[in-house]
């Protein structure tokens, strides 16, 4: 196993073990020790309400990673469905679905999400759905392209000649062969989901305080950047570590040398 995958697993493990690892509860106020620089009692310092930044980063990891992974799952499922139908059906349905994909690709993702989130004021689960719905287009295009080349290949025709029905053709023959393209676009969607969540929370329309997410910790840090710059360091570093390791893993998958 390579370093990026290992790092990613460590981050996931840290998020899962947050209650055991965090030195303090994430919402515990300590007004006597507000805005303290990093020390041995508070490794990453404390914020404007005296909450421990390390604890909040660990609990924030749960939200950020969950939003990243689950929104990628939503994006992947809708992308496979839309791209699959377009590539399998062809004709008018294909044309309509692909125009819709083009249209979605032409609308800038972050501003669209910012407006939607400001309108709907989403809870975390709804946020997952929204980020997922803004990210299915790449997967849909990939799956469609894959299906169209596969349809022309001999083995699909062979299966059809042998009497395979539509469903069997889809599940047994087309999907497994498109799996590689899907997995690669999904890893990219995880990294993008994490970045989008952090950006939305940074602008105050994503995960709402007091629940900690890396993005809303940075939102709070920005206000006191000149006096307590350390508040901005840890959450951002964790975002960067996560997206780098996800992207590197995706890169390796794309090149096809797996975990080797």
């Amino acid at each position: 196993m390579r370093a990026p995958t290992l790092l990613l697993l460590c981050l996931v493990a840290a998020a899962l073990a947050a209650p055991a690892l965090a030195p303090y509860p994430p919402d515990q106020l300590d007004l006597a020790h507000r805005r303290e620089a990093p020390s041995s009692a508070h490794r990453f310092g404390t914020d404007d309400l005296g909450r421990d930044v390390l604890a909040r980063v660990l609990y924030g990891a749960r939200v950020s990673l969950a939003v990243g992974v689950l929104s990628a799952a939503v994006a992947g499922a809708s992308g496979i469905a839309i791209g699959g139908i377009a590539g399998f059906a062809g004709g008018t349905l294909d044309a309509v679905l692909m125009r819709a994909t083009d249209a979605m690709l032409a609308v800038p993702r972050l501003p669209l999400l910012m407006i939607t989130a400001s309108v709907l004021q989403p809870s975390v689960p709804l946020l997952v759905v929204l980020i997922g719905m803004a990210g299915w287009m790449e997967t849909a295009r990939g799956v469609r392209a894959e299906f169209r080349t596969l349809r022309a290949r001999g083995f699909v025709e062979g299966a059809r000649a042998a009497g395979a029905g539509r469903a069997r053709l889809l599940v047994q023959h087309l999907l497994p062969n498109a799996a590689h393209a899907v997995v690669v676009s999904l890893t990219l969607a995880v990294a993008r989901g994490i970045l989008l969540e952090s950006a939305l929370s940074f602008f105050g329309v994503g995960v709402q305080p007091p629940q900690a997410s890396w993005g809303n910790m940075l939102y709070q840090a920005q206000a006191t950047l000149s006096t307590e710059p350390w508040l901005a360091v840890a959450p951002g570093l964790f975002i960067l570590l996560t997206t780098v390791s996800v992207n590197l893993t995706g890169d390796r998958l794309a090149r096809g040398d797996g975990g080797r």
């Binding site: 249209a103 501003p111 940075l218 780098v244």
Partner: protein
Amino acid sequence: MLRFLARRLLQAVPLLFVISGLVFLLIHAAPGGPLAIYLSNPNVRPEDIERLRRALGLDRPLWQQYWSWLAAFAGGDWGYSFSDGRPVAARIVERLPATLELVGVSIVVALALTVPTGILSAVRRGRWFDRLTTTAAMAGISLPAFWFGLVLQIVFAISLRWLPSSGRTTLGGGDFVDHVQHLLMPVTVLAVVQASGWSRYLRGSMIETLAQPFVLAARARGVPGRDVIVRHALRNAIGPVLAIVMVDAALLVSGAVVTESVFAWPGLGSLFTEALARRDYSVLMALLMLTSTAIVVFNIVADAAHALIDPRVVES
């Protein structure tokens, strides 16, 4: 070429309809619709809202409302800002120069980073320069732009005090040096993020092109190495990259939302976040619609540019 362009323009029409429909539905998904701003205002009575609703035609069927909105928008009537009552178009126009300045400089810097990096890392594939830039580009792609901005502010504005932390000019000041100092950090953020993506595309495109027979043929004919790379390979490889650059440029011009608001740069991106904070939907919708239209149009321009560089595009 003309027929090619005409076809692309025709394809864009249904696209713009779908996009505008999406944007329109979004306004109406807001609780209270376009009048949402008044719902939370205790000075506006429910019967006033009802009267406004009728006066503004919000009681008509949705498709009628969509049609008149679209007609007005296409005619340049973008409505009035909810927060200060001025025309949306005026608010957008006054912010445009700042954004054009920031984005123009950033794109030039990003291209200056992209072209040499992309070429060198493709030519010296797998060597130390390639590995170094691949790592740097990976970090750049994964970097949350707003955090990068905050870190630059901590280092160069707060700790070292070398640069102003935000704004376009010092109040009352505004000579050339002051201008450049204000530009440095936001340009760095935008250029690094863009160049990271672009140089990867150029590298990939160059590697593919260099492997083609015509490159070998040019070498065999005795064309000097530098000419093979720049005149033969680059010309073929740059087309797809330019398309991406054009679309990203459209996205940036319509608001480098994150970077502008971190550095309080008074352009379209800051206008967007200000409007977001005040739920000024008429401004938000106009910006979103303009960005999407710009992306569609720039896509076509990119296709045309690609076709000019590489006439084979028109055939396919």
